[in-house]
Each structure stands twice: as C-alpha cells, then as structure tokens.
Symmetry: C3
Subunit: 313 residues, 3 copies
C-alpha cells in the first residue's frame, strides 16, 4: 500500500495495514545498519528539527542517527535553552521552525496531545516521540517489529505488559498496536497502577504475576520510573521487585520460548535481574537496533518514499 498520512502521531489511529507497511519498510532499513557504509540519500537536503521539550537522550539519539543515515540535515532544539522558556507558546515555536523550512518536526512533550496540535497547525511532517502518558508510537512500532521478527505473526499471540501501565505511553502504544494486529494483551502490576478500566480496551488485567506470565509468548517489562514515581500510588522498590521483578526463578514459570522485552534504560535488580536481562531470552538490545530501523522507516514513509524502499537496495 502507499502511505498517505502527513504525520505519525499515535498507533490508535493507524490501521493494521499501515502498521504492517511501517514494519515491512523498517526491515529494509535494518539491513542498512549492517552495511559498511550505513547511509542512504533518501532525505538529502531535507531538514528535521528534533524538538525535545521533555528531556530524553536515548530516543533523541535514535532519531538523530536515523536522520543522519537518511542524509537529512538535523537540528536539535531542547527545552533548556529555548524560547519556550521566554514564554513563547508551543505553536509559535513550531511555526517559527516551519518558517525556517523545516520539513519534519520530531517532538517529545510532557503534554498529551502536543504533537496532534502541531500536526494541525503545520504543513511540516510531525512525528510524536512521546507525549505525556499518551503514546510513544515509534516505541510501539519497534516493539511490534521485534515481536514479529521473533514470533513470526501476531495472530493469537499472548503478550503480557508488566509494571506501571497507568502512566506509561509505551504501554498504550503497545496495546493499540498489538490488538490491531490480532495479539491478546495481558496487563499486570500493582492494582493502583493497573486499574480495571483497561479491560474496556480489551485487555486482560490481573495483579497476579504467575497468572500473567504463565501463558505469555512475550513479556514486556516497563521501566520503573522511580525518580518520578507518585507517592501513594507505588509500593517501595523492594516490594515491587519482590512482587513483580523478573528473575531466573520466575522465568522458569514462563513458556520456554517466551521472550523478555524492555524499553530501557533497565534498572538492574528492580524490574529485571541481570541474569535475565543479559540472558538468551532477552531481546532488549535488539529492540534498540530495531528502533533505529523503525525511525528511518517512519521518516522515509512520511517523506513520500516508495514501498518497498528503492533507495535501500
């Protein structure tokens, strides 16, 4: 299929076919990362602004490398030193970037919906790099890519997401994507962080770890953001680990071919033990590699690139 959307804002509004188009395109770009010369000219002379109003190193670097490998010119605009601090509105900042002929705005923002606002007021392509607790669509896509690579297809696949679901944009993007592609999703964690309302999205919700991991093909461990955890919602770190941390013993309760995912950065000894994180069931570092391919694919498709990508071959 041809890609027709101007922006990548969320997975909720994408069709299964659109998601699969991104995954197929990313497969081509993953091969570029394994070449001696990791560069294609697809976005030469295009300008990408990375507008990271909420700090991020990992996602920003992944986007920045994706842009460089597509030969785009890229500019980093971070919150710290920005005119946003001089009281300028986000829409004005974005209009100014567009006036500089920016072709793409990659935005991370603490307010859910900020990328959608920009998508409406700008002609430039907008990519959501994480908006509040709403969505993180390129993370969702890289998770889907990794799962398909390991498991072949999504139909009937059981995926368990563990941790702070309530405040996780990664969980939301994963849920939308997985369900559109036919997987069954289980959510598990402390009841304060995994409220029953998620059953309305079609997920199974349980506070019992054993139940959540027993039949899972994929176990996705969310990062415990203990540096910004809400008091009163979250048990102590030690209690979380004793109830939900994945160690070797608990890994033995899972299906022998279940894979362990994590969006990173991992807290070793909290949500996952080192033995598990570094073990053969872990695909955590492959997720990082796949994230770069997904971001190249997204920028390529938004730019009007052909499917399959001619420039890659």
């Amino acid at each position: 299929m041809d890609w027709t959307r101007k922006d990548l804002l969320d997975l909720q509004s994408l069709s299964a076919e659109e998601i699969l188009t991104v995954l197929d395109t990313a497969r081509q770009f993953k091969a570029v990362g394994e070449r001696k010369i990791k560069k294609v000219p697809a976005l030469r002379g295009k300008t990408v602004v990375n507008l990271f109003v909420e700090p991020s190193t990992r996602t920003r670097i992944s986007f920045e490398l994706a842009e460089q490998r597509l030969s785009a010119d890229c500019i980093n605009f971070t919150a710290e030193a920005s005119s946003l601090r001089k009281g300028e509105t986000l829409a004005d900042t974005a209009r100014n970037l567009e006036a500089l002929n920016a072709d793409f705005i990659v935005i991370r923002h603490k307010a859910a919906g900020a990328p959608h606002l920009l998508g409406r007021v700008l002609n430039a392509h907008v990519v959501n790099a994480g908006d509040g607790a709403h969505e993180h669509p390129t993370q969702g896509l890289l998770d889907l890519f990794t799962i398909r690579e390991k498991k072949g297809s999504f139909e009937g696949l059981r995926v368990t997401i563990l941790g702070d679901i309530l405040y996780s944009r990664v969980a939301r993007s994963d849920i939308w994507g997985l369900q559109k592609l036919g997987a069954r999703v289980t959510l598990c964690g402390p009841p304060t962080l995994v409220p029953p309302v998620f059953t309305e999205l079609g997920c199974r919700v349980t506070p019992r770890l054993e139940e959540a991991i027993a039949d899972a093909d994929v176990i996705n461990l969310l990062r415990i953001q203990h540096e910004r955890q809400r008091k009163g919602m979250f048990p102590g770190l030690g209690e979380y680990t004793s109830l939900f941390g994945i160690n070797q013993e608990r890994l033995r309760m899972t299906k022998p071919d279940a894979i362990i995912m994590h969006p990173g950065p991992i807290n070793r000894g909290v949500e996952v033990d080192s033995e598990v994180a570094d073990g053969e069931r872990s695909v955590i570092l492959e997720q990082v590699t796949n994230g770069l391919a997904i971001r190249m694919a997204v920028l390529y498709l938004l730019n009007g690139g052909h499917v399959p990508p001619a420039e890659v071959n």
Copy 2:
C-alpha cells in the same frame, strides 16, 4: 560589486551598496529554501564555529541551518560547558578555535564590541550574531530584506520602531541600515527607554503612539524582554500594553498597507495582540524565513562567493 570585507560586524560601517549586495544575494538563497533539496555545496569542507557565549536558540538555529544548507561543517560552542568558564579569555578561546582551522566564527556575546575584538585578532571570518546592546546585523539585514520585498524600495519610506530602543541591538542595526538606504525612522516608546539623544542619529523620537504609527509604512515592534527588564526604567507590562501594545483598534489608525514586523519571540497580548500578529498585515514569520536566506548570503559572501551566486542557479 565584489565583496571585500573579512567580517560582518555591524551595519554602521557598511555602505548602502554593500547592504544591497547582501540583500540581492539573499534573494537567490531564499529560493534554495523552497526547493525539494535545500542544499548547495558553496561551503563544503569549511568549518563554522557557532560561539554563543550568551544563550540563544532562535538565532543559533537559523545560523546552524544556514551553515548546513551551504554544506559547511559546523560546531556549536556554548557558554555553559566552555573553557571560558575555566577562566580562559575570549581571545584565547577564539585563537584556539582558529588553531582548529575554523574558517568562520559566528559569535553572540553580552559585551558590545566582542565580535570586533575577534575580527582583529583572527584570520577567520567573524560574524556578529548579537553583541550586547550594540548591534545584531543579520537581524537588521533580514528586516531590510523583508521591507524591500514588501515595499519595493526604501527611498522616502517611513519606518517606526516601537519599544525598548535604548537597550535594543536590533533597533540600532535597523536604524543604521534604514537610514543608509534612504528610509525615515521614527522611534517610539516610554521616554525612559527612548531618550531624545536618538534624534542626533537623524531619527524622529516621540512618546506618542498615535503620532508614531499614523504615517508609518512599516511598524517594527521590539520584544519586551520582561524577563530581564531594568527596574525603574520600565512601566508594568499592563501599562506598556495599554500605552504601546498594537491591537486591531490601533491597527486601524495606521495606513492600510502598513506592515507589522517583530524580531520574535512575540509576547502575545503584550506588545502585540494575537489578531494582529496572525493577521494579514503581519510579516513576522516571513522575517524568520528571510533570516535564513540572509545568513546564507552573509556566509557565502564572506567566503568569497560570486555575485550573483553561481552555485545557486
């Protein structure tokens, strides 16, 4: 004419002919920004260091994009993490950058005259990106470019600059440039910020808004830098707005084809209302687009580029 200066330090020392050469060259580069591939090879293999000792996002990004579109290699050197904080003098920092074979130093500094100092001690080309309350020549040039684009010529044109003239480097560069090209300049604002001494530069000075805007072809609203406004010199924000803020009602007191300019970032509801800022008389976003073209033109000319630019066509 051929360009012969090593540096761009101010508009005060440029001739009308030199200013027009920059504007003519920028017209060519503006077209580059509208292409699919927004890149020319004019500065390939040249190194530009953006030495922003005073923070700035907007101007730095404009320069950085100009450099990338000219295919230069560019390095950002900001005050926060710099050896300047280890007690190194500015001249030593600059000599070190030159020892790295930097071809251009783009400098923003809070001390008036800092770019001139560097221009004297370095062989590298120096571009003033704003020095204290002295000058901001690329902003002056982009204002002139925008005015010429909208009004055709400067002869007899009436330009009113509104706001904190005393501490504005933008105002100073505008005044020098406009007068050299034959425009008549009116300055208006609170008397503490628009002292009568400016009449000695040939400007009309008035604290009465109605008088200042009645016959103006161009109205340039300076940003109220309320985050660093001097106590005792400045009325409250509300008082400033009630006396000098431009809203729809006051816009009706102007000539029907008068244009509204602003160097940005704008304070909506302070020096300008949203209706005016986003209205059809506003050229604020075009100024941003033109700023990129001006900066490309300046770097191109300093580098010894031909006039008209061969590489652009």
Copy 3:
C-alpha cells in the same frame, strides 16, 4: 606497519613503532587542515558517538571536527541529560550505543579505566579521551607529534613537565610516550604533587625549577586546575606562580631553543606569563592544530585505514 589494535586506550601499552605509525599518519592529515576543502571520505557512513561523561569543550570539539573532516556521522552524548543519570550503568549505556550500530565510542570519564572496560565489552572501537588521572592518550600523541615536528627526533631529548604531576593524565601519557621513544623526562613541581615514586618510572624528579629547566629541550607546563585543586596538597596560586610560573626572566635560564608547551586552557599569569605564552618559543596553538590531525589519524587507523593514508593524497 599495519595497525592491528581495536581501541586506543593508553600509551602505556603501545609500542614505539605503533606510536610512530600514528605520528606518521597524522602528518598526512595535518595537510588536510590546510586545504581549501578540509574533508576526506575515509569514515563516510560510519557512526561515532562522543560519550563525554565528564564535561569538556576543547577535546570534544577537536574530536568532533576530526570526525566531520573524515565524513563520519557523529552524535554527542553528554552526561548532563543522559540515561546515566537515571541509574543506568556505563556498560549498559555503551551496549545501547553499540546496538545503534555505533562504530566508534570516544569516551571521557572521571573513572580511570572506564575506556578499558568499554573496550572489553564492545565490538565498537573505543577511544580514550581522558580517564580520571590515568591517561589522555590523544593529548600525549599530539604532544609527541609537536615535539617531533620541532626537534626532529626523540633520542636523548630532555623534556621537563612542570606542575601537578600526581593528578595529571596528560603527564602520564606524556611520560609513557616520551620514554618509549627515547627521551629523558624530568618532573618538577610542589613536592606534594610530584612524589618521588615517579623515579620508579625512570623520570628525574626535582622540586627545584632552575635544575628542571636548565638543560631542557622541551618544557611542558601543566594547567593548574585551581577550580578543583585539593586543599592541603596545593600552595596558593600566588605561591605556585612565584615558585614555578614561567616568565621572561625564567625563560632566559633555559636553552635558547627550548620550546614551551601547554595542553590548554592556559591561566595567563599563573603557570605562564602572557609574554611567554604568546612568544616565539611557545608552540601552544600549534599543539591545538596538531591535536586535530592526531585525532583524525587515530580514527582513521582504528577504522582499518591504509598507511600511508591513500585517501588523503
């Protein structure tokens, strides 16, 4: 000789022949910096991550320019905004960077041995850009390059290093390199900062300036890091200057062709007077220029480049 090492971690483990190979290669790259187009395609499509966990402007910019001139894609990863602050281990950060297909990691870290750790766990090439008080091998190499350029050979050459030897990674790299190449090293400074144990490395150690500089061919002044000097170990700045600062008078006690080196940034009036720093015996700015050539050579060799560099000619 062909280069066979994956990483550049220190000078202690390099052979004299390996050091000379870097110096020979750097000579070719120094010529690139004098061209109109200062760029070669040697690292096109390669990714370099500058992982500066300890802040640095000078060394980072030198590496960044070296990378750009070799046509590499480069990413800056600084400590301030990094996932390291979220509790991620250094090895995990590095593994993540490698998962993004980084080909080179240039690391500065306050812990001695950090680059060696990364060298062991990564397939990517690791370059030590300064680790604690251990080594700063590219600074050592640029010092050697500068000395060879000025003095022709190392055999029997007398080099005096002045200042805070105990905590200086520059001194350690210089000592290893100089002795491997046949020079004789004298260390001089306050006894608390130049302990007698350095005689075990084969150096002459003396607290008497006159003795240290009388027969020296090269005098290398270390920077007094007064912003982080240990209390109780260091005399006052004034006392240091009166005992060890190099001024015109003391310069007259040296051999007439002795050269003055300094890794920068210099404290004018502390370890060196302006007359000496800017005088004809000073090679301080040439060291900066040579540092860029050394860093290009190191990246080029680690990447498997031919000796002599074919792409440079």
